[in-house]
Amino acid sequence: MFHRESGTFKTTYAGDMALYPLPVARGTVIALFVLFVVVAPLLLADYYLSIINLVMISIVGALGLNILVGYTGQISIGHAAFMSVGAYTAANLAVRLDLPFWVTLPAGGLMAALVGAVVGIPSLRIKGLYLAIATLAGQLIIEWTINHVPWISGGTQASIQVPRPSLFGYELKTQGQLYFFVLFFCVLAIVATLNLVRSRIGRAFVAIRDQDIAAEIIGIDIFRYKLIAFAISSFYAGVCGVLYTYYFGIANYENFQLGVSIDFLAMIIIGGLGSVLGSILGAAFVALLPLVIRTVMETVGPLFFTASELPGIISSLRLVIFGALIIVFLVLEPEGLNRLWRNVRNYFRVWPFSY
């Protein structure tokens, strides 16, 4: 955050190891807390809250994909399929067994983790491009299965209506109430990821990403950790899917198609591979971009296109801009928005001196 370290010297070990190195860091955390918990829900209109809700749900999924792709170096084009596994598991449990969300949410996550680990099994034998294709197969097969097995998909149009989540007898209905519901899980996911990546498991992931043979030689069981990476990543995806389900009140496979997997890949590439802040920035960027495009096109678009064409044009334009952004970031700034943010921060850290 906005540290300014010039002129600050640490004279005790306790000071050096403190959770907040400077008072301003603690201030930032408190300010963020106040902003998100008090100011945002009180001041923002429902429309803006709904945007923030969607961004926060995407953050959970993006964090999961970043653990797999950014930290462990295993590519996955099937993230949306794991989200759908979580979504339909939770929806079925909620509708058939009438279970509350604090049971269905972890259950959806665990089911997705299980399926994710199964899809991850080929990662032992195959790498890189082969794995990309294997996860693509996972995506298509899961999509087909959900679509064609009425027992899972609930029959009509492969979608299941889900009751609103309720806590202590209160139903969470309005955007403001759902905001806190989603915020809780989003913060939980962020903190869990931050802790995971500097734990033993997280370090093993990074070792596998950087040089898998070397990692095996220093005693990391590659197969086990790859499977763990797939399982954890899919768990996040599953939770993300469950959140979508509760948020929209419906589990629908159309929200979890191949294009969504690619959206999530775009999030972590634009945000920055192997970085928690990058996942957050990327998720926000990708979730907000369509809104910006729509606003711009609704004012400029009618000059070039007729009103009936416009919705199709907007969705196509979104695809083009996404693709272009992925390529631009890959070619010009592989570390993504996170790196841009770091550059800015490093400049201000020692400001007004140059280093």
Partner: protein
């Protein structure tokens, strides 16, 4: 019983001819992989783009068919050249994930552009080949499929000759084998990358013309690209004969399976079974039927 057998036979024949056309698309994929070790996730979109170009040129007034076809191929070659230069060359030496993601981004761009520039209508690729189906015993084949199979076979023979006998082909194999050693032997590696992409452009152009004629050209045409992955995995990512055998197997299995299973599950078997086959191949024979095993030594 005889009727059942005839039905089965015609399924196999139509599956095999479709399979050969899958091979043609897969060929573009394999050529790029063989030379540059890059996976092109936008292969289906290449085919779609070629289809749009062909549709636009063939329906243009006063354009001779032959000229239009040649122009389509030339445009696709130019497109592949430019693409290699602008997008893929800066990614040389970066992790394989980066290249895959770049082609996924490219696929998104190519899929988004046609509705903006060409509009959302389905276009036709008219070819002067008539529509009298050829019959082969109890089976019939549409003329475009028959011509497609012939063109595919010609291409395969041509590319096989190129890789086996010609000087450029041997150099390209050397590049695929080991880029550094190839450089040390005085081979201009980047130039061969460009040539490989150009050849993939030719294969995409021809696939675009044939598939565009069969299915009509719109954004959905890009979905045939999804069939490429099972084909190349089954055959081996770096093998041209593998692409053919893989294409035949996928084509036949898909045609037979969809005829016998579809009535029970309500459709979609066609898109699903090839991937099951592919998963099995990945589990038991990850380098495919003809692919080169890669052994990693420490």
């Amino acid at each position: 019983m005889g009727e059942d057998l005839d039905f089965f036979f015609s399924l196999v024949v139509s599956g095999a001819s479709i399979g050969m056309l899958y091979s043609l698309i897969a060929l573009g994929f394999v050529l790029v992989y063989k030379a540059t070790e890059a996976l092109n996730f936008a292969q289906g979109e290449f085919v779609m783009l070629a289809g749009f170009v062909a549709a636009a040129l063939l329906t243009a007034k006063g354009m001779p068919v032959v000229l239009a076809l040649i122009a389509t191929i030339a445009i696709m070659i130019g497109f592949s050249f430019g693409l290699e230069r602008v997008v893929l060359r800066p990614l040389l030496g970066r992790p394989i994930v980066a290249v895959i993601m770049a082609t996924i981004g490219l696929a998104a761009i190519l899929r988004g552009l046609p509705p903006i520039t060409f509009g959302g209508d389905t276009r036709t690729v008219p070819l002067p080949i008539g529509d009298n189906a050829f019959s082969l015993g109890p089976a019939t084949i549409a003329p475009i499929q028959l011509y497609g199979v012939i063109v595919t076979l010609l291409f395969l023979a041509g590319f096989t000759w190129f890789f086996m006998k010609s000087r450029k082909g041997v150099a390209m194999r050397a590049v695929a084998e080991n880029q550094q050693v190839a450089m040390a032997m005085g081979i201009n590696v980047e130039r061969y990358f460009a040539i490989a992409w150009a050849m993939a452009g030719i294969a995409s152009a021809v696939s675009g013309i044939i598939w565009g004629n069969m299915l009509g050209v719109d954004v959905q045409l890009a979905l045939v690209g999804l069939k490429v992955f099972p084909v190349v995995i089954l055959g081996g990512l770096d093998s041209i004969p593998g692409a053919v055998v893989g294409g035949l197997i996928i084509g036949i299995v898909e045609s037979v399976a969809s005829a016998y299973i579809d009535p029970y599950v309500g459709g979609g078997t066609k898109d699903f079974v090839p991937y099951l086959l592919m998963i099995a191949a990945l589990m038991f024979k990850p380098y495919g039927l003809f692919g080169k095993r890669k052994i990693e030594r420490v």
